[in-house]
Symmetry: C2
Subunit: 267 residues, 2 copies
């Protein structure tokens, strides 16, 4: 069996969740074959593990509850997600957000002053992406002397069990264009977000590896921080990703289980 240079000297893994551990969906989602077992093997081998997700449809507590019900042995501390990072940023800069997010995410912003908004925070609002809600967010932004738009990720789309869905990045672009502003992205692929995830992982970038299904947010973002990054051929992966003009993963793997197999053989 050939040796894989990309798999050497790994001490910690950052894992994307949707499309790597499971395919999400209104039905709660379906685990990807072999992923729960792969997670157990990572931990049994003594490797560090942190989930690095742009999930903004639920609080981390509810997200972890869902993952545990699907058979994944995960705790809240093992999840790095955009909403808590956004809350830190809002507090640092004295920003009071108008939220256009999923109902289930709102509790993450419980401690943040939301009166008389001076910025808009955009998440994957899903069914809350209504014409009325988008117009409301737009009017608030265009009415600000200096519009501040904070986007929890900038994904183009993701895959649910009933098909592909537009992700927050598409709506971010709509508001950016309408208001002639550039959003600040909190979440993958922002460098600062990966740096937080690495700090929580407790491993330097050259000993960490990111595994995800998004060529830009996962692979591009991680590599920009000096980490290696793999793209899995599950989730939203499309063969055309392998011709991406700018981003080239360190390797493609069929799924998380295959990646973990190879990494463990190189310990």
């Amino acid at each position: 069996m050939a040796s894989c240079t990309w798999a050497r000297a790994v001490r910690g893994l950052l894992l994307d969740v949707s499309g790597v551990l499971y395919d999400s969906g209104a039905d709660g989602g379906v685990p990807i074959a072999g992923s729960a077992e792969a997670l157990r093997r990572i931990k049994a081998a003594g490797l560090k593990l942190q989930l690095c997700t742009n999930e903004t449809q639920a609080t981390r507590e509810n997200f972890v509850r869902k993952l545990r019900a699907l058979g994944f042995d995960i705790s809240v501390a093992e999840v790095t997600a955009p909403a808590p990072a956004a809350c830190r940023l809002l507090k640092e800069r004295g920003l009071r957000p108008h939220l256009l997010v999923h109902d289930d995410l709102i509790p993450e912003f419980a401690e943040v002053d939301k009166t008389n908004p001076n910025c808009v925070v955009l998440g994957d609002a899903a069914e809350n992406f209504t014409y009325a809600n988008l117009n409301e967010a737009f009017r608030l932004l265009i009415g600000m002397e200096k519009p501040v738009l904070i986007s929890l990720g900038k994904g183009r789309y993701y895959k649910e069990t009933d098909g592909l869905k537009l992700d927050v990045g598409a709506y971010m672009k709509a508001l950016e264009y309408a208001c002639d502003v550039q959003a600040e992205v909190v979440g993958k692929p922002a460098k600062r977000f990966f740096e937080s995830a690495l700090a929580e992982l407790g491993v330097p970038p050259e000993q960490a590896i990111m595994i995800g299904d998004d060529i830009v947010s996962d692979v591009g973002g991680a590599q920009q921080c000096g980490m290696r990054a793999l793209q899995v051929r599950t989730g939203k992966y499309r063969p055309s990703d392998e011709n991406h003009p700018e981003v080239k993963p360190d390797a493609y793997v069929n799924n998380l289980a295959e990646a973990v197999d190879i990494i463990l053989r190189h310990l």
Copy 2:
């Protein structure tokens, strides 16, 4: 009284409608003071007149009916609008559209084959810009070998009587980003669209003048065709338009009535 060089030798006027003749709204809209009288004076003076609109919320027939009810003496032949131009383009290129447009616009596409779509046509769908409809249009596009997105205009926003609304351009940007495609714009500011309007006006560009409230779609588009263009300070006009980095109107006027006053004095 000073002479205005921009007002010399005008033989025909192209007029934007919403924000120039009236402010649109769910209540049917409200005429802008002096505009109906200005229209009468243009015609009485023997000047040519054509409305050049990106209106895609109604067929031209219904649009003209609404304008007449508001007191504007206009016929269907005097309206250049994106939907008929799009129909010509679809037929020329053998394209079968999936329509994401306002319900009231659908009859304009009655003669077009819409089975097994090989492109998406996007208009100002207003309440039809639902999460489900946007996901449907996205899935069709991303599933095409070479996605073709045709957008009826690319306005950023417009003003209705109850406030500013996101226009088709914002949703166009969302789909462009999600599918990594560039939309083809039919309507203002496309050069081809202004050329059609000029042909219908029957006046060469150097003897025509465009009057609109949109600095980019109206003023920029018309000037690019060699016409003069005025921005009115009604409709969606905002003082910051006067600092636009790229587009500079030949003049600002407070409203259509003032523009027509000056033009008629220079005949």
